[in-house]
Symmetry: C2
Subunit: 125 residues, 2 copies
């Protein structure tokens, strides 16, 4: 087999509460999309490195990384592409980097809905 794996990539933090929030954010995707996982750039496990190596060992050769970032800064413009290049060399896998989720207009719509809820709570207090 050679199915594509989706990797939801978060930055990572030594604060477990930070990672818990990302795991909750990832949960609907992990439930809906087969062969999808969460991975962290740094400071938390599982690392991107570990997730790609495990995927390759299980027979996956195509990966799409969807960054759980609202916008692209240095990490997504430089660090992650460098990590991908090294992983492709080390494993022979093909790894595509998608734009950060915040570049998709669906996120702006979700933010509008969240703000409407916050506003309703603020005014009812």
């Amino acid at each position: 087999m050679n199915s594509r794996s989706i990797i939801l990539l978060a930055h990572g933090s030594s604060d477990k509460r930070w990672c818990d929030t990302f795991e909750a954010l990832a949960e609907p995707t992990l439930k809906a999309v087969s062969n999808s996982r969460i991975a962290y750039m740094e400071l938390a496990e599982p690392s991107l490195n570990a997730v790609v190596h495990e995927g390759v060992a299980a027979g996956t050769h195509d990966f799409t990384i969807v960054p759980l970032f609202l916008a692209a800064g240095r990490h997504l413009r430089k660090d992650v592409p460098a990590m991908i290049e090294a992983l492709e060399k080390a494993t022979g896998a093909s790894i595509k980097l998608s734009p950060p989720i915040g570049e998709n207009p669906l996120l702006g719509q979700a933010i509008k809905d969240v703000v409407a809820l916050q506003l309703a709570q603020s005014t009812s207090e």
Copy 2:
């Protein structure tokens, strides 16, 4: 008048492309919610400080800050509360800090929808 103002708070970056993404993310909210603005913690304009002072000068005394952050780290647990305390002292305004947008389940649903689109694109290429 004494209407409530919504402030969408982003971290800020010296990279204009980063700020452009946040302005696009904020746009649906700014169009839909009256008396709403975007502000940056640092490295970009307008600053939170400027937006609160301008709001107070225009007659607003109640602000709700909705952080355009996926999760709460040091900035939202320490730095922003300290900024709010100083602004409340300086202006007499009342400023509420909402949870980061990423703690709302609507964001996880939007991420799932974004990933489904990315996956459709990946497999059609």
